[in-house]
Amino acid sequence: MIEVRKACQTFNKNTPYYLELFNNLSLTINDGDFISLIGSNGAGKSTLLNMLAGSFMPDSGEIFFDEKNVTRQKEYVRAKYIGRVFQDPKMGNCPDMSIRENLSIAYNKMKSFNLTRGVERKNEPFFMEQLETFKMGLEGFLSVRAGSLSGGQRQALSLLMATITEPKLLLLDEHTAALDPVTSKTVMEKTKEIVETKKITTFMVTHNLNYAIEYGNRLILLHKGEIIFDVCGEEKKELTKRKLLDIFTSSVPDDALSDIMAFG
């Protein structure tokens, strides 16, 4: 179980651009949850995700991973039990290294980074098997540099790298936004499959309402730093795009319409 307890976050303190984003934000993520987080620009989606990842500390409040307070833990320490896929396919792997080396680095995550061989041949069948499930033909190109892959292939590699050690929490930061619609769908389907088979608790930020409705067991709508809607289970299954838009417009009367148009 992952908990955010009374997190406060402000920006640009002591300047005219002062912004209070989170005011006592609390959120509980249950084991096995697959959460889609939506919200208009500036709602705080990325800030929340970065806070969970440990990219920065909240001004106040605490973050717990299985009852363990990790608020002050450095990002790289916390990263041991977090998998993360970024919007930019380039962020998840090393362009100069081969697919084999990239997967090896990711696979070594839970081991100590010592002076034994970084690439172990015995893992190769496992890598090939994993790559095959993407049906992109990557299994035949283990020696190819990651930098020479297409955006979709690189993102598929990033997704595999982030989940190969079965992290406790998977953070997806609009990870299909930079891909064409077909590839985007493929990566999304693959994400679902991995999350379900490996039972990874997942937190996905998305701008795509259809994906938010279609995938995951829980949906959270964030607006100006507040959770204004949080559904799960059966209720989530019955959600339609129409209903979601209605909820959005009724809970945020004024400027919401322009926002929602942007991500409809």
Binding site: Y76, M97, N108, L115, R117
Partner: protein
């Protein structure tokens, strides 16, 4: 003959510098100017040790250790002081100039008649034997580096240069790996300095000026000409680059180019290589 041998001797020692610069510039993506001080640091530590009666091989190890420390200082300034990479190098390089003077207690030390690794008994002392010894040392360093950068730790250092976020994501401390990389880089350059002092029989406080550009030329030259040749690794390319560089400069000086033109030639050479590299890249993009 003796001309070729002397070119190869110096070129191979420069090859060690090139390996050091390859680590900082190419692997870590950190243009580290510290090497402009750590080369002399190695030379001066080795020289003062040798005239104090320390075994020449031990003197080399001491030089290497001091270089490692110099790299750590630059790394600490960058990682914990949050100073930009270029400035960190300039700061340490500047400080090292004084350190080198303090170590040597004078601007230069002659090692004529002193024991050195080329005269330490089981090796002969003629030019060819010296060359073979240098070649063996360079080969050993290259093999160790190639091995190291394929280990779990080494692979993370490579990743730091091309995608620091990935290193953080898999639980590695980017700062630590940068410091380790810079340390190895400067350790190698200082070691090269200790060899050069023993080869030339003197250490001089000004001997490392221009080392960074020498290293850059070697690395970029080596990598540019070996582009597309898969069987040549970056480390080999850097060593080859250093030898070619020394051959070009050595020949030019031999043919009577005034030494005043040396730096101008170096700068022109670097620009030429960079431009050729760019044209080559644009060709492949077409």
């Amino acid at each position: 003959m003796s001309f070729t041998v002397s070119i190869l001797q110096q070129g191979l020692i420069y090859g060690i510098i090139a390996l050091g610069v390859y680590i900082s510039y190419k692997i870590l993506d950190f243009p580290d100017l510290t090497v402009d001080g750590s080369f002399t640091l190695g030379a001066s530590v080795a020289a003062i040790s040798i005239i104090s009666g320390v075994d020449p091989w031990v003197a080399c190890v001491l030089a290497l250790t001091c270089g490692l420390l110099a790299g750590i200082i630059t790394g600490l300034l960058h990682v914990y002081g949050k100073i930009t990479n270029l400035l960190c190098g300039i700061i340490t390089m500047t400080a090292l100039y004084s350190v080198n003077l303090v170590i040597m207690e004078r601007p230069n030390i002659s090692l004529a008649g002193q024991p050195n690794i080329f005269r330490s008994g089981f090796f002969g002392s003629d030019a060819i034997t010296r060359l073979i010894l240098i070649a063996i040392i360079v080969l050993i360093i290259k093999l160790i580096l190639d091995w190291f950068f394929r280990t779990k730790k080494g692979m993370l250092i490579r990743a730091v240069g091309s995608n620091p976020q990935l290193v953080t994501s898999i639980g590695g401390n980017v700062g630590t790996y940068k410091i380790i990389g810079l340390s190895i880089s400067n350790g190698l350059v200082a070691f090269a300095g200790s060899l050069m002092a023993q080869l030339q029989n003197f250490a001089d406080v000004g001997m490392s000026s221009g080392v960074i550009i020498l290293g850059l030329i070697s690395v970029i030259l080596g990598i540019t000409i070996s582009k597309g040749l898969k069987f040549i690794s970056g480390s080999t390319a850097s060593i080859v680059g250093a030898v070619i560089y020394q051959a070009v400069i050595g020949t030019a000086l031999y043919l009577g180019m005034p030494t005043a033109f040396l730096r101008l030639t170096m700068a022109t050479l670097l620009v030429t290589i960079l431009l050729i590299g760019r044209i080559k890249r644009e060709d492949t993009l077409k």
